[in-house]
Structure formats: structure tokens, C-alpha cells
């Protein structure tokens, strides 16, 4: 998988994950699974940002 393909795949998964979390919050409230889906979404978001090596470390602070 090239770097661009990797970023595209993660971006697609991030969008899916956020939608799943929002649906869960809408139907069941801010429950454990919703919180942890949000956590996974942030993990992917930071990965996409840090894979782009033009960002300094400070961007994640």
C-alpha cells in the first residue's frame, strides 16, 4: 500500500467510524461503545496527521 493509498484508506475508515459513533450517540446516548469509537477515530486522525511528515510534533500538542 502506498502512502497515498494508506492515507485514503484511513480517511475513509475515519469517516465511517465517526458516522457509527454519531449514530450510536443518537440512539443510545454517549455510552461506553460510543466513547471508545470516538477514541479510535482520534487514533486514526492522529495517524493520518503524523504520517504527513511535514507536520511538527507540536501539531499533536
Amino acid at each position: 500500500m502506498t502512502k497515498d493509498e494508506f492515507e485514503k484508506k484511513l480517511s475513509d475508515e475515519l469517516a465511517r467510524l465517526e458516522k457509527a459513533a454519531d449514530n450510536l450517540i443518537r440512539t443510545s446516548g454517549y455510552v461506553k461503545d460510543a466513547r471508545r469509537l470516538k477514541l479510535l477515530a482520534e487514533l486514526i486522525r492522529e495517524q493520518i496527521r503524523n504520517e504527513n511528515n511535514m507536520s511538527a510534533t507540536n501539531a499533536t500538542r
Binding site: 500500500m1 494508506f6 484508506k9 484511513l10 475508515e13 465511517r16 467510524l17 457509527a20 450517540i25 454517549y30 461503545d33 466513547r35 471508545r36 469509537l37 470516538k38 477514541l39 479510535l40 482520534e42 487514533l43 486514526i44 486522525r45 492522529e46 495517524q47 511528515n53 511535514m54 507536520s55 511538527a56 510534533t57 507540536n58 499533536t60 500538542r61
Partner: protein, 492 residues
């Protein structure tokens, strides 16, 4: 007692967290400390003693399922649940989040229980960012590249953790030479004494080009008669053979992180961009020449080993190599380098003195006035005075709305005006960027107002607007009287 320290940024920040970890262990002598880091950085962490365990956030395992063709979150979610429950199996008394990222805030919330004291970023029960302490609020508002902060990040970490550091917390690591390092030195003909050039960085914008490093290394060997060892990743290697000439060894891509730390610990000096090499040198007490530029904030991440200097250039591609050579020679001879330079000073917080550079300190002076009660800086531009006047009007407007809300009659209009004020503050910032520290302080303080009763929320909101008004009034009065009083006096 169990302490968890969460450090999910890069290895350089992990190294800069070490004084705080030592401080926590000193302040809580009966405590054990669990340091949580990303899996990819765990192996590069030095031995922090028997009381410290390293836990790896399994980023690779959590991401892997998402890279499959028909990915679903179940596998990652299950893995994450197991990992969190394993960490929470033992109660956590103090959880210090040193990461300042959204991810770390979500994780902090998940790892804390009802009895856990939390410091740093977390989340509220309904998912909003929950900034737990004033130091973290300061980070949120004023720290980072392009921001005016001048307090070193390793000291900010200690403030977030709530510990006052002492000299021994910064003490250098004693690294023992191990057999594999001896073999590595022998294989590559490394002769002591030597200077390490760390040619790598997380971004090419933070370091010299390969050709610049090659020229600098060759001239250091030829003109200063100093052995030079180059370290970095494989892609940063300057030569394939490893040896450029006698006295110049290229070990890029030939060391692991532990070897890198040991090599730096044995060097007379480290020269490098504002990156991991500088932070390792600070931990192992090796004098450093930090080559810095706009894309980093040397005040926050510069070197801390005694005898260190920072050389700052607006464009790293146009660095005058003789200036760096003169600085290397100065450090080698324990004398002052050629101007301009930035010198490490003993102390805590703001630890650098500027020599020969013209660096505007207006925004930093404003930050110090806001957070530590120092004098507000003089306003030199009419537009800035206008900016503060407009901010004061908005503070007055906000306070009027709060009074109307307190009456309890038809609160929808004053509430909508309060929301409008946020946008109007940004418009003022648009024409007067100098007021940014005050605006960011205002936004952060408002975001820190915790959910509560209507009266509590109104009271806390009123406090923030009153403080905003006070800042604006002080700035304006100080400015008008200050001009009459002369240079070194102020009304405040």
C-alpha cells in the same frame, strides 16, 4: 499508590517528560508509576528504575483491522476494550496526561475512575474537552509553534503534574558502554573524543539538508580537527560506505534507539536540529548546538544540558556554515561563540538569553501579564489600542447580557447575544492579531466552565467577562498613563 503518566507524543517529548516522572517519584516515595506510550516508541525509553513500568498503547494492532478490505471496527474495539480493562485492573490514584491531544483526552477519561485525581486534558461525561488544571489551560491557549510561550516544555510538564522540580530531577543519565556499542565503534573505526551530528528530524524543515550536513561535517573535521559521528535514519545517510574520510563516520541507519542514546552520551558535543538528538543530549547531559528555525519554538524544546547554545536562522537552507563552525569551536574551547546566539541559562521556565538577535517580546509580555500579573506591555500601534477598546466593549456587552439573564425574564435574547459575542471577538482578532493571547485566554477560560447549576454557570461566565474587561481597561489605562510616566514605570 499508583500513578499513570500518559505520554502519547513522540520520543522527544517522552525524554522531556523524564524530569517530571522523576519529580513524581520523589514527591510520592511510596508510589509506583506506569508510563503509557505508543508501541513504536517503547523500545527507545531508557531504564527509569524499578518503580516505573512501561505500558504500550498498541497503535499498530488497533489500526491493522482498519486496513483490511472490508473493515469493521469490532476487532479494534474489542482489542481496545481488553487493553483498557487490563490497565484499569489495578486502581489508579493519580493520572497525569502530558500529551495535550484529543486522543489522549479520550483515553484519560477511559482510564480514570471515580477516585482518580486527573491532571491534563480529559473529557466531560458528555464528551467535551475537560481541561483539568490551569497549566493545561495555559498550554491549550498559548503553547506551540507560532504561539508566544517561552516556558520550556519539560517545565510545563512538571506544572501540569503539579510537582516542583529540583536539580536532581534533571540529573543526567549515566549510560554504561555495552559490548555491542564497543563492537559498533570498532567496526566503524569511531575514535574518541568525538562530536555527534544528528542529521535527522521528524520534518526536513527542522534540519539542514544532506549536502549542508556533509559540508559542515567535512569542514569540522578538516578545520577544527574534531572527530565527527553522524547519526540519523538510514534514509538520512550521507554516504553508503559509512566513512567519508578519516575522522568522519556515518552511522545513519546503523544504530537502534538505545545505541543512539549511548553514543550521544559519550560525545563531547551534539549538533542537531530541534529534534530527538537534542532532547536525548539534554537527558544525558551533553552540551548541544541546536540549529533552530521558524517551524519549531526553541523556547519550548531547546537544549537543557549545561553549556548548550541555540543558533536560530529564518531559513535553514541559507545557513552560513562558518557561523556554526565558530560556535562548535567556541563550545569545544568552553568560550562564548560568535554572535548571534541563544544561550542556556540556569533556572526554570524561561531558560534562554538572547545575544545578537532582535526578537519581539510584546506578545510574550502580554502573556506574562495575563497569567502571572507582570506589567502589561506598552501599546505602540493605534490599531492595537483600538483592538483592546473593541474587546472591552464586547466584555461590557457580555456583562449586560448576564445581568439580563440573572433577572430570569426572556433569557433567549441575551443568550443569543452572548453567542454572537464569540464571533465578534474573532472579528476583532481579524483586524488586530496582536490581541491573540487575550482572545485565546478568553476562549479557553470559557471552555473550562464546567457544567453545573444555572447560577454557577452564570457566575463563572460573569467572572470570565469581568477579567476580560479588567485586562482591557488595564492595558488602556497603563498605556495612557505610562506614556506620561516614562520608560520603566507603569500604572499596574
Amino acid at each position: 499508590m499508583r500513578i499513570i503518566c500518559l505520554q502519547l507524543t513522540r520520543l522527544g517529548d517522552i525524554y522531556q517528560s523524564i524530569p517530571t516522572i522523576r519529580g513524581l517519584l520523589r514527591v510520592y516515595p511510596d508510589a509506583k508509576l506506569d508510563l503509557i506510550v505508543r508501541d513504536s516508541f517503547a523500545k527507545g525509553i531508557p531504564n527509569l528504575g524499578e518503580r516505573v513500568r512501561i505500558f504500550e498503547l498498541p497503535v499498530s494492532d488497533l489500526l491493522q483491522p482498519f486496513l483490511k478490505e472490508h473493515a469493521t471496527p469490532e476487532a479494534s474495539l474489542s482489542h481496545l476494550n481488553q487493553w483498557i480493562e487490563s490497565i484499569k485492573a489495578e486502581p489508579v490514584d493519580l493520572l497525569v496526561n502530558l500529551s495535550f491531544s484529543p486522543l489522549s483526552s479520550f483515553l484519560t477519561f477511559e482510564l480514570a475512575s471515580e477516585n482518580t485525581v486527573v491532571r491534563g486534558y480529559s473529557r466531560t461525561t458528555d464528551g467535551f474537552l475537560d481541561i483539568k488544571d490551569e497549566s493545561s489551560a495555559y498550554v491549550y491557549a498559548q503553547v506551540g509553534v507560532g504561539r508566544p510561550n517561552r516556558i520550556h516544555i519539560s517545565d510545563i510538564f512538571s506544572m501540569v503534574a503539579g510537582v516542583d522540580l529540583i536539580d536532581s530531577d534533571y540529573a543526567r543519565f549515566q549510560e554504561n558502554t555495552n559490548d555491542d556499542l564497543v563492537a559498533l565503534f570498532s567496526e566503524h573505526q569511531v575514535n574518541k573524543p568525538f562530536v555527534v551530528f544528528h542529521v535527522g528530524a521528524s520534518s526536513p524543515l527542522k534540519t539542514l539538508s544532506t549536502e549542508q550536513w556533509r559540508q559542515l561535517a567535512l569542514r569540522t573535521v578538516d578545520e577544527l580537527k574534531v572527530n565527527v559521528v553522524l547519526v540519523g535514519s538510514k534514509s538520512e545517510a550521507i554516504t553508503q560506505s559509512g566513512v567519508l574520510r578519516e575522522g568522519l563516520i556515518d552511522l545513519c541507519g546503523k544504530t537502534d534507539l538505545n545505541q543512539l542514546r549511548k553514543i550521544i552520551s559519550q560525545a563531547k558535543m551534539l549538533v542537531g536540529g530541534d529534534s530527538l538528538g537534542v532532547q536525548i543530549a539534554s537527558c544525558v547531559g551533553v552540551p548541544t548546538i541546536n540549529i533552530s528555525t521558524l517551524s519549531v519554538n526553541f523556547w519550548e524544546t531547546g537544549p537543557r544540558a549545561t553549556g548548550s547554545y541555540t543558533l536560530w536562522y529564518p531559513n535553514l537552507r541559507e545557513v552560513p556554515l562558518p557561523h556554526i563552525l565558530l560556535c562548535i569551536e567556541g563550545v569545544q574551547k568552553n568560550s562564548k561563540p560568535a554572535l548571534p546566539y541563544i544561550q542556556l541559562e540556569p533556572g526554570f521556565g524561561m531558560i534562554y538569553s538572547i545575544h545578537g538577535y532582535e526578537i519581539d517580546s510584546w506578545e510574550w509580555d502580554l502573556v506574562r501579564a495575563i497569567y502571572s500579573g507582570k506589567d502589561f506591555p506598552r501599546i505602540e500601534r493605534h490599531l492595537v489600542l483600538e483592538g483592546f477598546s473593541r474587546l472591552q466593549e464586547l466584555a461590557d456587552l457580555g456583562l449586560e447580557q448576564i445581568e439580563l439573564i440573572k433577572t430570569g425574564k426572556n433569557v433567549s435574547v441575551p443568550l443569543s447575544v452572548l453567542n454572537e459575542i464569540d464571533d465578534l471577538v474573532l472579528r476583532v482578532l481579524g483586524f488586530c492579531p496582536e490581541i491573540a493571547p487575550v482572545v485565546r485566554w478568553f476562549q479557553t477560560e470559557k471552555s473550562m466552565i464546567a457544567p453545573g447549576s444555572r447560577e454557577q454557570v452564570i457566575e463563572n461566565t460573569e467572572k470570565v467577562f469581568k477579567s476580560l474587561k479588567e485586562f482591557c481597561v488595564t492595558m488602556k489605562v497603563n498605556n495612557s498613563i505610562g506614556h506620561q510616566l516614562g520608560e520603566n514605570t507603569s500604572w499596574k
